[in-house]
């Protein structure tokens, strides 16, 4: 029996300016998973997240947290927001204080925790996001990536059981993007459900263990990444592209350069391994395209293509 921590059932929502953001969106998030929500701009990702946190109330439909319908009185909302943390996409809309420490301690203080506990959580969150050295810096002198990590720390310090991040790697340099993704893995291993919204199909494909695809206010597809990213029609309909790993795997398989019957590779290391295996088994390998004599010496010594 699957245990769902967050559920949206047939939610409709119209903003006060008349924009219809959700038209019957249904999404059930399993506890402890790494979930990616994909969709183009304006597909309704952020709107559905704001429902999960109780900021927005559905016009029609229901939101459930841990199997119980969300209620909108003060105490239930505080309880919900303690458990479901959202990191917004633009750090400048989230940062309200000029002091990094005050910014991060805002959430824990709202939970009414004792001072010692607040101090512990602030320190932990700063260590996890590697911003301890920014402690005494004013937020307006931080770079975009640093601001983004401060925002993340501000939500981590509340120790939510579900962490929702809107485009966490947008605007980060590659090194910090990888770091943030590793941090999400770590948090997830400690039992937190992590939900990411992204346009980055490669990132979603390699990282997530469950994927939702949204388009025009509804969830148009969901499933394991291997299934979802094979469905070309679904991707096209929601303005997404296929991850390069899927693309290359398909091209190689079609030409018969890979051993058949292997699952789709999830990482580039896995794909390299497939290529190596194929060439080891006497299949016409990629290496034939590159005669060994013309290879640079360091390449000639590797095992690719050796019988």
């Amino acid at each position: 029996m699957k245990e769902f921590i967050l559920e949206a059932r047939d939610i409709h929502f119209v903003y006060s300016d008349g924009t219809t953001a959700l038209r019957g969106a249904t999404m059930a998030i399993e506890k402890g998973r790494k979930v990616a929500v994909l969709g183009s701009n304006g597909a309704g990702k952020t709107t559905i997240f704001l429902h999960f946190n109780g900021i927005l109330r559905p016009g029609r439909g229901r939101v459930l947290f841990a199997g119980r319908e969300v209620r909108y009185d003060h105490r239930s909302l505080m309880q919900l927001r303690k458990n479901v943390g959202i990191v917004f996409q633009d750090p400048d809309t989230q940062l309200f204080s000029a002091s990094v420490v005050q910014e991060i301690s805002f959430g824990p203080l709202n939970l009414g925790l004792p001072e010692k506990e607040v101090a512990r959580r602030v320190e932990n969150a700063m260590a996890a996001t590697e911003i301890a050295d920014l402690r005494d810096r004013p937020t307006h002198l931080l770079s975009y990536g640093q601001k983004k990590r401060v925002c993340l720390a501000g939500v981590l310090a509340m120790e939510p059981s579900v962490l929702i991040c809107d485009e966490p790697t947008a605007g980060l340099d590659p090194v910090h993007a990888v770091q943030v993704m590793k941090l999400f893995d770590r948090i997830n291993q400690q039992g937190t459900t992590v939900i990411l919204a992204t346009h980055d199909v490669d990132l979603a494909y390699s990282w997530a263990d469950y994927v939702f695809v949204m388009s025009r206010g509804t969830v148009v597809g969901e499933g394991l990444p291997e299934e979802v990213f094979r469905d070309e029609r679904l991707l096209k309909q929601s303005d997404l592209t296929r991850p390069w790993l899927v693309e290359i795997h398909e091209q190689l398989s079609r030409r018969g350069w890979l051993t058949e019957g292997l699952p789709l590779p999830r990482t580039k290391e896995q794909l390299f391994d497939y290529i190596q295996r194929a060439s080891g088994s006497g299949k016409p390998a990629l290496v034939h395209l590159f005669p060994r004599e013309k290879m640079r010496p360091e390449c000639a010594s590797c095992s690719v293509g050796k019988k």
Partner: protein, 260 residues
């Protein structure tokens, strides 16, 4: 203004307890304003200049340029105080007589102006000392300890934060307009500026809405609670402040009792 903010974060006195700096600035300013002779204000001006340049390591040139800022206002104000205009010739007035009107200065008037000048300069340098050594966030936290109403405190904090956000937005809008020849002629300049200002207003409204949402998401209930890093108070500094201000106070009291 942004320079002052930067120096506040990098000065050598940055890590001194903000309460100590606040107390020093306010006490010294009070004493300076209470003085009835020029001696104490001049001392205060020199003392804070030394504290800012030697103590906090703010470049002297930058500081003197800052002092020039209020000088314009001061001179204009002082002219009004010192100049005396009268219809009848007055032996106490030194100056010109034009068409029967005497325009000039009197000795007590000059003295009065000098006192006013040194007092204002002393008070301004006390405020400069505070703003060049103490980041705004810490000044706000001192004010909170002094039980200034929470509404004002939160407003100060948000205004301070958003000055930078809005300046940055305005800056990037300006650059993008300039790169499309938005300020090529006087006419387009007017139009571009108008668009920039109105756009900035709309953006700020949107920003405030987004900020409110983000605060709600972290359990905001109408009050921003602030975390303070515990910071040790230095007895040595307190003793030094007490000593300096005590000497200044005695000097002021002496000059009250026996005016020069």
């Amino acid at each position: 203004m942004f320079k002052i903010d930067q120096y506040a974060y990098t000065s050598k006195l940055r890590h001194v307890h903000p309460g100590e700096k606040f107390a020093f600035a306010m006490l010294t300013m009070g004493i300076c304003l209470a003085a009835s002779s020029m001696l104490v204000p001049v001392l205060v001006t020199g003392l804070t200049a030394a504290a800012i340049i030697r103590g906090a390591r703010i470049p002297a040139r930058f500081y003197f340029r800052l002092l020039l800022l209020p000088l314009g206002f001061l001179v204009a104000g002082l002219l009004a105080v010192t100049l005396t205009i009268s219809r009848e010739p007055d032996p106490a007035v030194y100056g010109l007589v034009i068409w029967g009107i005497t325009l000039g200065v009197t000795i007590p008037g000059l003295y009065h102006a000098g006192l006013l000048f040194t007092k204002s300069l002393g008070a301004v340098s006390c405020l400069y000392f505070l703003s060049l050594t103490t980041p705004m966030v810490e000044i706000i936290s001192v004010l909170r300890r002094l039980k200034v109403p929470a509404l004002l405190i939160e407003l100060m904090g948000l205004v301070y934060r958003f000055i930078f956000v809005i300046m940055e937005t305005a800056g990037s809008m300006y650059i993008s307009q300039t790169s499309r020849c938005g300020y090529a002629s006087l006419k387009t300049s007017y139009r571009s500026l108008a668009q920039l200002v109105s756009n900035l207003f709309v953006r700020s409204c949107y920003r405030s809405q987004a900020l409110f949402t983000a605060l709600l998401a972290r359990g905001y209930t109408g009050e921003i609670r602030m975390w303070e890093d515990p910071r040790p108070v230095s007895r040595k500094n307190l003793a030094l402040i007490a000593l300096v201000d005590f000497i200044l106070l005695v000097l002021v009291l002496v000059s009250w009792r026996w005016p020069v």
